[in-house]
């Protein structure tokens, strides 16, 4: 049996940064991932905020921070668009990453900090034994066990680790956005430093995004809440790219799919000897579906708290609760706000979305007050304003 202080299951960006900070804190760390290549296949539109990366102490490198974003274009079902520039704070805007390189870069950081990395290593089950977890693993036809004083579940939205340990990390279908995306070339964008979002029945319960990776290259994808429709995310995507002027002549070079947990962070983030991080803990911003920066920030907290707990020799839920507190301080209010806006947008019909876009089309958001915004909305769509009032 292999013995270690901390075992991190999942070498996505969140698990890797947790492993890095745990190792920097002086603990013996093993980081495992079932994939043979960390970061691939990507399941992401690859948008990450500048501020967020800076907070994590990650210096953007041209090899993975491949396009800088300066604005957002919001498009209503009838094509009416609203432009936001970077003078107002844009969520998840900053860079478009090349996740296949970025994820590896973060894992390498963990390795350089001292963590041992095992690829093509699957965690199959676990059991609690005294003051530790024993995880059964499978790698290249070999079965073995790893005993860890602290287990960090960073296994993404599959989130087996938490559930095997008895935590409520399973995701309800209404809280899982089903995503499908093409990476495409020959995309005709208005401006390739601008993220584009399309709302309404093009993607029930979600939205369509065009995230530019270069002059004519973009991730074109969408998320739908499957309980709101009988058609698959892929079917919606095919329809969209066929009809949207920006993509109808574009060529597909990659297909990505995956679930995004958008229901808000789980309550039980830790227990004796265990912490859950990233998508596995639904640490995703509900409105945008962005989980890189929020998850990585919580991953950094998890690594730091786990290392501290190893130093103190106390691996109890109480000792680890500092992790819960730091995550909640960071995300609870933001999540609540984003969930409300998300619910609001979901409640609007295509016609109401068109009226809202018309009201805001020529607004300079950086110069206008909330009262003025409401006055504009009441003029074009009192119904949309009424729905807004009910939510807040």
């Amino acid at each position: 049996m292999i013995e270690t202080d901390i075992l991190v299951v999942g070498a996505g960006p969140v698990g890797s940064i947790a492993a890095k900070h745990a190792a920097l804190g002086g603990a013996d760390v093993i980081l495992i991932d079932k994939k043979s290549e960390i970061g691939s296949p990507k399941r992401c539109a690859e948008g990450a905020s500048k501020e967020g990366l800076k907070f994590l102490g990650i210096e953007p490198q041209p090899i993975w921070a491949i396009n800088e974003i300066k604005g957002i274009r919001l498009v209503a079902p009838d094509g009416t668009d609203v432009w936001l520039n970077d003078e107002i704070k844009l969520p998840e805007a900053g860079y478009i990453l090349e996740r296949k390189i970025f994820d590896k870069h973060i894992a390498m950081d963990a390795g350089r900090a001292g963590a041992e990395i095992k690829v093509k290593t699957l965690a199959k089950s676990l059991k609690k034994e005294e003051d530790s977890y024993i995880v059964s693993c499978e790698s290249m036809g070999e079965e073995f066990e790893i005993r860890a004083k602290i287990l960090i579940g960073a296994d993404g939205s599959e989130s087996h680790i938490g559930r095997w340990a008895g935590l409520k990390t399973g995701i309800k279908p209404k809280d899982m956005e089903s995503g499908a995306q093409f990476e495409m070339c020959n995309v005709k964008m208005e401006d390739y430093s601008v993220l584009e979002f399309y709302f309404g029945s093009v993607a029930p319960g979600g939205y369509v995004w065009i995230f530019p990776k270069g002059e004519d290259i973009a991730n074109v994808g969408l998320g739908v809440i499957q309980s709101k429709t009988d058609r698959s995310a892929y079917d919606y995507l095919v329809d969209f790219v066929r009809t949207c002027p920006a993509t109808k002549n574009a060529k597909i070079v990659e297909l990505n799919v995956g679930g995004v947990p958008v229901g808000g962070m789980i309550k039980d983030l830790s227990d004796d000897n265990i912490l859950i991080v990233g998508d596995a803990a639904s640490q995703v911003i509900p409105l945008t579906g962005g989980g890189i920066v929020s998850g990585m920030t919580c991953g950094m907290f998890a690594g730091e708290v786990a290392a501290k707990s190893i130093k103190s020799g106390d691996h109890s839920k109480k000792q680890l609760s500092e992790y819960n507190k730091r995550c909640k301080d960071l995300l609870d209010d933001k999540m609540k706000k984003h969930l409300k806006v998300r619910n609001y947008l979901e409640s609007l019909s295509d016609e109401e979305l068109n009226s809202v876009a018309t009201a805001f089309q020529d607004v300079k958001f950086e110069e206008i007050s909330t009262t003025e915004l409401i006055k504009k909305l009441v003029k074009v769509s009192p119904k949309a304003l009424l729905k807004l009032g009910k939510l807040f």
Binding site: K34, K35, S36, P41, R43, K120, L122, K124, G156, S157, E158, S159, H160, R163, W164, G170, I171, K172, P173, M176, S178, G179, A180, Q226, S227, S232, A233, Y234, D235, L255, N256, V257, G258, G259, P261
Partner: protein, 53 residues
């Protein structure tokens, strides 16, 4: 459960299975058919409709 050849091994079905019965390897999906209550949630969420009973 029948897993069609175009499954992308994304794990979305595994995340929503209320009984936690779907284990995703790098390129294999393993179902615990014995404990499955046929709620069909996994079939409905799949972004590429790759599952069939």
């Amino acid at each position: 459960m029948i897993v069609n050849e175009w499954c992308m091994y994304c794990g979305e079905c595994a995340g929503v299975c209320p009984r936690n019965l779907i284990l995703l390897k790098e390129t294999d999906l393993v179902f615990d058919d014995f404990r499955c209550n046929e709620c069909d949630i996994c079939i409905r969420v799949c972004p590429v409709s790759a599952l069939k009973k």
